[in-house]
């Protein structure tokens, strides 16, 4: 790691080809450059949405209107949700690390359709810009929440149409990424790499890609129908015209629940790569982890109704969805056991990626267990639409997917940029983030249990302490974020040179130069071993 010399090969970061400067990025079909395009876009949007989140917390620091009125608050939580869900976490890990590392980890030079890959980034950017514009153009900021529930979303005078179209376009980008990854994994694996010699991050991406392909069209048509409802007065979901608002909820969650697995499956894949490397031990239960990804994807498709327990769906329907919700917890738990067993007896190296990965398990488990409280029919009635739900899904999405993203970026940073960040600073930033996260979201569980509703901009005096503590946590979390980003952004150009394999990883991405060359591999490797064979076992 103390290598002081710059690398000698031509890396993908250096120009090659017709275009120079920014154009060489915007027109590049190199999967690594597209990965970085996604990452930079996502970080910018993440900061915007995080600031919106912070504003909401400041508003709730004390009762009454502090810095915004109720309608502004409605707009802020809607756009916070739309940006975070559709622009950040759904593409998130798959588009960034999937694009960058999927081809490398399966020993390919690029994805199956490089041009389509670039196109999907452009579609993504158009959708993202429309999402942001919806805040400023005509009618005022949308105030429906990211769930767009009818009949309100068909009636609200605000600019819902723009936001719906934005989500529709973003879905299209997500489909194209998924399609590309499925074909890549089917057709581009290096010779000798059978399905069960493939690393586990690609496995999780495979499961994710199928959900993207098979669930996203449903939200596409649903949003289209709401658009038709608003513009053509068609009335499928409008009770006044005989339509059925519950049908919208069904359609919406047929996509949006599997979408949660689009967020969390690649996150699980990332930490599955990290545990063996930092324990210097093969992953425990390889097959179980691979299969459980598919099982989560499959069962996760059939649990959408647990968002509708209080909406008036039939008793048997509630029974069925609750039952399957408990079933889907099983493969998730299998993964947790396997991660812990991977660490057991290994030579553990507590570097920032592992710290993030371990805190991922911790936060994901809190999120998962509270999920079971929400998945039980009786407790759900009490907890539905309270801040308990808000805390639950932030533990899953931010604590799970977010922390896995941070784990991934600290793990692969030296490979992506050929430089190392300041490890001490990264550890400190992790500590601040972890503390801030729990101080921010844990109180929401408690006041949620006591009856604090979600999406309210004001509250009764008895919730004041909880909200105050939570807002303090928001500041701590934000400080941690800034510190982490500062460290990473600075090290991109100024960090010390990193070796090709600073963590002693064994998957293919660590066997090539840092940063990778344009072609990744000079010659396509032939795969003879299972993916996680460490030296000790090899000798």
């Amino acid at each position: 790691m103390d290598q002081t010399n710059k690398y000698t090969h031509t890396s993908y970061l250096e120009n090659e080809g017709r275009f120079k400067g920014i154009l060489s990025w915007l027109l590049s079909t190199d999967h690594k450059r597209i990965g970085l395009l996604y990452m930079n876009t996502i970080i910018v949007f993440f900061l915007v949405a995080a600031v919106l989140g912070l504003l909401m917390r400041i508003e709730k620091m004390a009762p009454g209107a502090d810095i915004m009125d109720a309608q502004t608050y409605n707009g802020v939580f809607t756009i916070h949700g739309i940006i975070m869900i559709f622009i950040i976490v759904i593409p998130g890990l798959a588009a960034v690390f999937g694009n960058f590392f999927l081809p490398i980890m399966i020993g390919a030079k690029d994805v199956a359709f490089p041009k389509l890959n670039l196109l999907s980034w452009y579609i993504y950017v158009i959708g993202a810009i429309m999402g942001v514009l919806s805040q400023f153009v005509g009618g005022g900021a949308p105030d429906t929440g990211w769930t767009f529930y009818v009949p309100y979303s068909a009636e609200s005078a605000t600019n819902v149409l723009f936001a719906l179209t934005a989500a529709f376009i973003l879905g299209f980008s997500s489909i194209l990424t998924g399609l590309n990854f499925i074909v890549t994994i089917h057709r581009m694996r290096a010779p000798g790499m059978g399905w069960f010699k493939m690393p586990l991050f690609p496995w999780s991406l495979y499961a994710t890609a199928w959900i993207q392909v098979l669930a996203t069209p449903i939200i596409g048509i649903t949003l289209l129908l709401v658009i038709a409802e608003r513009t053509l007065n068609i009335g499928f979901f409008d009770p006044a015209l005989g339509g059925d608002p519950l049908l919208f909820q069904h359609l919406f969650w047929i996509y949006s629940h599997p979408a949660v697995y689009v967020m969390i499956l690649p996150a699980m894949g990332v930490v599955t790569e990290i545990f063996p490397t930092f324990s210097q031990k093969p992953v425990f239960g390889y097959t179980a982890i691979a299969i459980s990804s598919l099982a989560i994807a499959l069962v996760g498709y059939f649990v959408w109704g647990h968002h509708m327990f209080t909406s008036g769906i039939s008793y048997w329907s509630r029974w069925f969805f609750s039952f399957l919700t408990f079933i889907v917890a099983v493969p998730s738990a299998i993964k947790v056991f396997n991660w812990v067993s991977t660490m057991y007896g290994g030579s553990i190296d507590l570097k920032p990626p592992l710290l993030y990965a371990i805190s991922f398990i911790f936060l994901f488990m809190i999120g998962g267990f509270t999920g079971l409280a929400l998945g039980s029919l009786a407790t759900n009635v009490h907890l539905h639409d309270t801040s308990f739900v808000v805390a639950h899904f932030h533990y899953i999405i931010f604590g799970g997917m977010g922390f896995a993203f941070f784990a991934g970026i600290h793990y692969w940073f030296p490979k992506m940029y050929g430089r190392m960040y300041n490890i001490k600073l990264a550890n400190i930033a992790w500590g601040i983030l972890f503390v801030g996260f729990n101080v921010l979201y844990f109180p929401l569980f408690i006041i949620g249990l006591q009856g604090m509703p979600r999406r309210y901009f004001d509250y009764l005096p008895q919730f004041e302490t909880g909200h105050f503590v939570s807002s303090i946590g928001a500041f701590i979390l934000f400080a941690g974020l800034i510190l982490m980003l500062y460290n990473l952004v600075r090290s991109r150009r100024k960090g010390p040179w990193a070796t090709a394999n600073p963590w002693k990883g064994v998957t293919l991405e660590w066997q090539i130069e840092s940063p990778p060359t344009h072609e990744n591999f000079e010659t396509i490797p032939e795969i003879k071993h299972p993916p996680y064979l460490f030296k000790k076992e090899n000798d």
Binding site: L214, I254, Y301, Y315, S317
Partner: protein
């Protein structure tokens, strides 16, 4: 045995498929003369499903494709059927 996807369908067999499809269309129009009551949607869908399967198998060449693709197509239709059934657990049992 040929490699998957390498079979060439002859003009005559394609014409045969078309004749079969047109007869099924005639059948689906003809049976509207009978009253199947609540089953009428089911009967219409059954004929449509046979027609759809014919298009998939011959026109779309699925019969001669790799097993993995057949599995995918089957899986996709199965998944969709399950979504419909599960939604109707709600609507039919309210």
């Amino acid at each position: 045995m040929e490699k998957p996807g390498h079979h060439i369908l002859s003009y005559n067999s394609l014409l045969g498929v078309l004749v079969a499809l047109l007869s099924l269309t005639a059948l689906s129009v003809w049976i509207t003369n009978f009253n199947f009551g609540t089953l009428s949607v089911g009967v219409a869908l059954l004929v449509a499903a046979i027609k759809g399967a014919t298009v998939l198998t011959y026109f779309m060449h699925l019969k001669f494709e790799s097993r993995i693709l057949k599995l995918m197509v089957g899986g996709v239709f199965l998944l969709f059927a399950l979504v419909i059934i599960i939604t109707f657990i709600d609507y039919l049992l309210r």
